[in-house]
Symmetry: C2
Subunit: 350 residues, 2 copies
């Protein structure tokens, strides 16, 4: 059996476990010490762990109060080291399915795994492994019932390859957040992007334009020639600044999740809709499934990895989806308006 953690840059996160993972029960989220993540003397891995735990609590609480239904918390441990908490709200009042998952895993990275980290080859000699690694990440996908309310996705992750003494040999951050509407409300796309841009700009004004473009490129269904949604931001292999600065940026982005999405969902969740809108939403859900199962590198590699926690990976899939042969939206329809934007990604913030 080989360690098979997936470090592939991805829209999802870290459930790519060696051997098997074990569910150790449904738990109430323990309260975390949110001071740690501000303490520069504490190793980054602990600070990231604390941050994603506190973010998970914050977001699940807020979404519960919005939905009226509670998340189910599943705490699992990994045989070879590490743990995760999967929080799922299914068949809620507002959300058909919402998942807020974290995982913190560590172990040894074998040669085969190191070989896959092409962009890291200069730093890591596969013949000298296996190397100790550490990874911590948070993944969110929320699919609302209302066809006018968009699906949202977020993922942030921190990765370390360690020396034998536990200090990082190399490290990087990755992640992003993007919005997938079935019907286009330009003001929603603008609000979402504006909130992310403001978070980016506080750290580096070059981030937003670069990561917006990266997101459009990554969340793209090549076989359809269309984007998954109206985008957001995405980045990977981020180590171009001191870890302290990137961590501060990642926290800013994580903290921007609720402000970027909650105003939108509140505006759309009670809008009246009919069969036609639900039908179109289901077709768009089909596209979401296509992206996640065909193109998303994290999902793909995770699913092909023995011992992965499949249910945590696939929480990203919608509750229901639909595929029709040769469905084409009518000219000048609202459905066609969305397709035009997906075919030609737009700049939402000047």
């Amino acid at each position: 059996m080989t360690v098979a953690f997936c470090f592939i840059s991805s829209g999802l996160s870290f459930y790519y476990l060696n051997g098997s993972s074990q569910l150790i029960g449904q738990v109430e989220c323990a309260s975390s010490n949110i001071d740690i993540n501000n303490d520069k003397n504490v190793p980054m891995r602990l600070r990231m762990e604390e941050y994603i735990k506190s973010l998970q609590q914050l977001i699940t609480k807020e979404i519960e109060s919005l939905d009226g239904k509670k998340f189910k918390f599943d705490h699992w441990v990994r045989d070879q080291g590490g743990e995760g908490i999967s929080c799922i709200l299914q068949d809620g009042n507002v959300f058909e399915k919402a998942g807020v998952n974290i995982s913190i895993v560590h172990g040894k990275l074998p040669e085969a795994a190191v070989q896959q980290m092409k962009s890291r080859n200069k730093e890591i000699d596969p013949s000298k492994g296996p190397y100790p690694f550490f990874a911590a990440g948070i993944s969110i996908v929320m699919h609302p019932h209302n066809p006018y309310a968009p699906t949202v996705h977020l993922n942030y992750r921190y990765f370390e390859i360690n020396n034998e003494d536990g200090t990082p040999k190399t490290w990087w951050f990755g992640g992003g957040s993007d919005l997938t509407p079935s019907y286009l409300f330009e003001e929603d796309a603008v609000h979402f992007h504006k909130t992310l841009k403001e978070a980016c700009d506080k750290h580096d004004v070059t981030f937003y334009p670069e990561f917006k473009k990266w997101c459009d490129t990554y969340f793209y269904l090549q076989h359809r020639g269309e984007a998954r949604g109206v985008g957001g931001i995405f980045f990977d292999d981020m180590d171009r600044k001191p870890a302290e600065e990137i961590f501060a940026f990642v926290k800013q982005c994580g903290d921007a999740f609720l402000p970027s999405y909650v105003p939108i969902i509140k505006k759309r969740m009670n809008m009246k809709f009919g069969k036609e809108e639900k039908h179109w939403q289901q077709l768009r859900r089909g596209r979401y499934v296509e992206f996640n199962l065909i193109w998303d590198r994290g999902t793909k590699f995770g699913l092909q990895t023995p011992g992965a926690r499949i249910e945590s990976i696939l929480m990203s899939l919608p509750l229901t989806a639909r595929w029709e042969y040769m469905h084409v939206p009518e000219k000048n329809s609202r459905e066609k308006k969305l397709m035009d934007v997906l075919k030609n990604p737009r700049d939402w913030v000047a």
Copy 2:
């Protein structure tokens, strides 16, 4: 632009076209000259083409008479050579979605494509290409409404790499047929396998046991540790006997489709069912989507190929599907009984 025909062994067929494919209209299926496929003086490519055209007509007619609704026939041409006919029946009385597609394509196979044909490397020197190729195949997927009625799949294909004078340098057949129930009726699995075994046995008694096993191995969701269904037969790279003999075998298998499936669908299509059964069927449809988008080599490579006719490839997906977090069938339930068989494929014919 490169020729990017997909010759990967697959549960699906041949829509992996270079550049673009053009829909040239909806047509009534032309009547074919069924004598050609029995004439040994006619090149195999023409005989296979005639055979799959006649099989497509036979099957669509029979299924139409069963369903009461008509197939939509789409005839498309390939810029670089060849054509296809996609026949889809959607939202019928018996079938939620049924597709019977054929394609007959030819062109040049570039080095990159030849490189992928690993098992053929001994016969084909990539540095001496591009080689002319020819491929003809038929693909069928039928998803019935009734949760007690199983989904069925069939694919048979013939492939040639040609010399400059058009004679085959190398050739092979591939394909198979398999059954995917949501509820297990042992007698249905037995009938399906028995019909296929009888077809196999008429040509070689070693075929059925070998191809039954191959099918169980191929139509397998590795990430779930479960088979897609109760199997059938599957083979590829088949050139171990004279083409004449294998063609006769393939025709026998194709001809066995209706006898293998129609008695089952007739028995199940009007059975009474409730919400619970429909719900379980939808979850199983989700698994079907997972297999086709994650594991099926033909679908995967086809979708990643520029110019493929996406709608023909994805006709294999069900009309609707569902994913629930941590859904586990109850002990001793009928749902659990199916899962046990999917986890431990059974021999259905002694």
